[in-house]
């Protein structure tokens, strides 16, 4: 059996490990347009602030490819997939044959049309290692940075470079920061924390025009800057899959087996859309755990095994300057909120299920909540009032707890 994986990040690694859990002998080829062995993309902000280095960013040990019998083609770009002839065409003209293929093509930064953008000399995206290296090289303690986008990427970038630059301003069209994971109240708490670190925000605003090193805002304000980071959002890389005839919505459509609509073609990670079990809708859930789990699921199925991943939910754990935030699920339903001076907690329930939560400041044992969402635990089978106060196993019935702590350990217990 010949397996080909296009892409070389978490979904690809999950796929390799999934294939090898079933098939030790088939040939696996990984094709990546980046020159690096697999590294952790979400760590690029930690690289810039010196909390990690390139050596420690390695997502798997140096012998990963050798040990798993993977032929890895680095710095090579796949430009087409022919599902009938079962070949991948590379930019170099080479053809790579496959029996089963995984699209682990990730996403790319979305740069909206902005007037005068071409007049900005130093502008960067913030997704890949090379983006971080290029940005890092452009910074000095005199640099004034403008970040367009107050989402996860833009704000992690801000944290990563704060200690290295003179000032950081963040502009976003939304009226609050981190709108994809926080409600208005939680967002305001995190914004105040970031402002204490000297980060300035222009929210509900946008850049009307760039002229060299000045951004003129729609509101009429002006922000002078030296370096621009565009972190408005990302778009899934779906072109190859669409060209191969796969059904593509916002991302490549996959089922619970990570299979696309075309036989023998699979997809996993940020290039996909999949079912969010908290809303029942198909969404892009671009977070690393989902990428790995979808990739692993694809790998097992590609190798002839049986695996289903049907517990995907949006979830994030992120920290800024020591303030930790953990969120999961969706926020439509009945909300329960508890605040202290330094913490914020919101749990959302609907139809006897926990649907989502936001924890800021105190994130201890958050996974107990996440598990209630993923496993769709009926809340009337546990002591919900107890677990609401504090995540704890005490809230489960004694026999359930005995199985969890005394039986054979497994997440699906």
């Amino acid at each position: 059996m010949k397996y080909v994986i296009i892409g070389n990040s978490a979904a690809a690694v999950g796929c390799v490990e999934g294939i090898r859990s079933v098939d030790r002998t088939g040939t696996v080829t990984v094709i990546s347009d980046e020159p690096y062995p697999v590294y952790s993309r979400p760590l690029i902000s930690y690289l810039l602030c010196g909390k990690t280095d390139e050596e420690h960013m390695k997502y798997r040990p140096d012998d990963f490819y050798r040990k798993n019998g993977v032929k890895v083609l680095l710095g090579r770009k796949a430009v087409g997939v022919d599902p009938r002839r079962k070949t991948v065409s590379l930019e170099t003209g080479e053809q790579v044959p496959f029996d089963r293929l995984l699209f682990a093509t990730g996403s790319h930064p979305f740069v909206p049309p902005m007037e005068g953008l071409e007049s900005v000399e130093k502008k960067f995206s913030f997704m890949k290692l090379d983006d971080a290296k290029a940005l890092g090289a452009a910074l000095s303690e005199k640099t004034r940075v403008l970040i367009v986008g107050a989402g996860l990427i833009g704000l992690k970038c801000a944290e990563g470079i704060r200690g290295r630059v003179q000032s950081i301003a963040v502009v976003d069209l939304a009226d609050r920061i981190l709108p994809s994971i926080l409600d208005a109240e939680g967002s305001a708490i995190v914004r105040r924390h970031l402002e204490k670190q000297g980060i300035r925000f222009a929210l509900g605003d946008s850049v009307a025009r760039f002229t060299g090193r000045t951004a003129l805002l729609k509101s009429g304000g002006k922000i002078p800057f030296d370096v621009l980071v565009v972190a408005v959002g990302v778009r899934p890389n779906t072109r190859l899959a669409a060209g191969a005839g796969c059904r593509v919505g916002r991302g490549i459509a996959i089922d619970g087996r990570s299979a696309t609509s075309v036989p023998d073609l699979y997809a996993a990670g940020d290039c996909c859309e999949c079912r969010d079990i908290t809303t029942g809708t198909d969404r892009i859930l671009a977070v690393l755990p989902n990428a790995y789990l979808q990739g692993e699921t694809a790998g097992v199925n590609m190798a002839g095994g049986e695996k289903t991943f049907d517990k995907a939910i949006p979830m994030n754990s992120i920290g800024f300057f020591g303030l930790h935030i953990i969120t999961a699920g969706s926020y439509e339903g009945e909300a329960w909120v508890r605040k202290t001076e330094s913490t914020y907690k919101k749990l959302v329930t609907k139809d006897n299920l926990l649907k989502g939560y936001i924890l800021i400041g105190d994130v201890a044992r958050a996974g107990i909540y996440t598990s209630l969402i993923r496993e769709k635990t009926p809340l009337d089978t546990i002591d919900y009032e107890l677990v609401r106060e504090k995540p704890q196993l005490m809230a489960f019935a004694a026999d359930r707890r005995a199985a969890m702590l005394g039986g054979k350990a497994n997440v699906s217990d």
């Binding site: 999950g14 979400p42 930690y46 390695k58 755990p289 754990s317 004694a398 702590l405 005394g406």
Partner: protein, 143 residues
């Protein structure tokens, strides 16, 4: 493989396991010296109420979702033990987000996480919580 299991029928809620854990992972050789006037950060935690108590530590799952979710590749399985690479961990807490047992916690300095590694990562060599449990409520065995 052998794992740590608890039987809440026998747990007295004395919290000795927490102190033995903190001592085993302190790197000190004298328990009083290691723990006196120190806020402890054990990797096993007793929970419960006045009637029921039990200790919770890493289950070393066969299918560990923390390992699969780690954004840094800092968690791995070594001979069945879910192991943390302290130098690779950046303290993002994604493992805390996903662990259904609530058995992963921030390290005291907040720069990384910590979790039970069955005392394979300290000089103790075998689970100190088990050895020190006065009522046999925590055991280390194959099931």
């Amino acid at each position: 493989m052998k794992r740590v299991y608890v039987n809440e029928k026998w747990c007295l809620g004395c919290h000795l396991c927490e102190y033995n854990c903190a001592f085993a992972n302190s790197g000190e050789t004298d328990m009083a010296g290691a723990l006196k006037d120190v806020k402890i950060h054990p990797r096993i935690r007793v929970e419960g109420d006045n009637h029921i108590s039990f200790a919770v530590s890493c289950r070393h799952c066969d299918d560990p979702i923390c390992v699969k979710s780690c954004i840094a590749g800092a968690l791995s399985v070594r001979n069945g033990v879910v192991h943390r690479d302290r130098d690779k961990c950046v303290g993002c807490y994604t493992c805390i987000l996903v662990c259904p047992y609530g058995a992963v916690m921030p390290a005291p300095d907040g720069k990384a996480i910590q979790k039970c590694e069955l005392c394979t990562d300290n000089a103790f060599g075998e689970p100190a919580c088990v050895k020190g449990c006065p009522n046999g409520a925590i055991v280390f065995e194959e099931r």
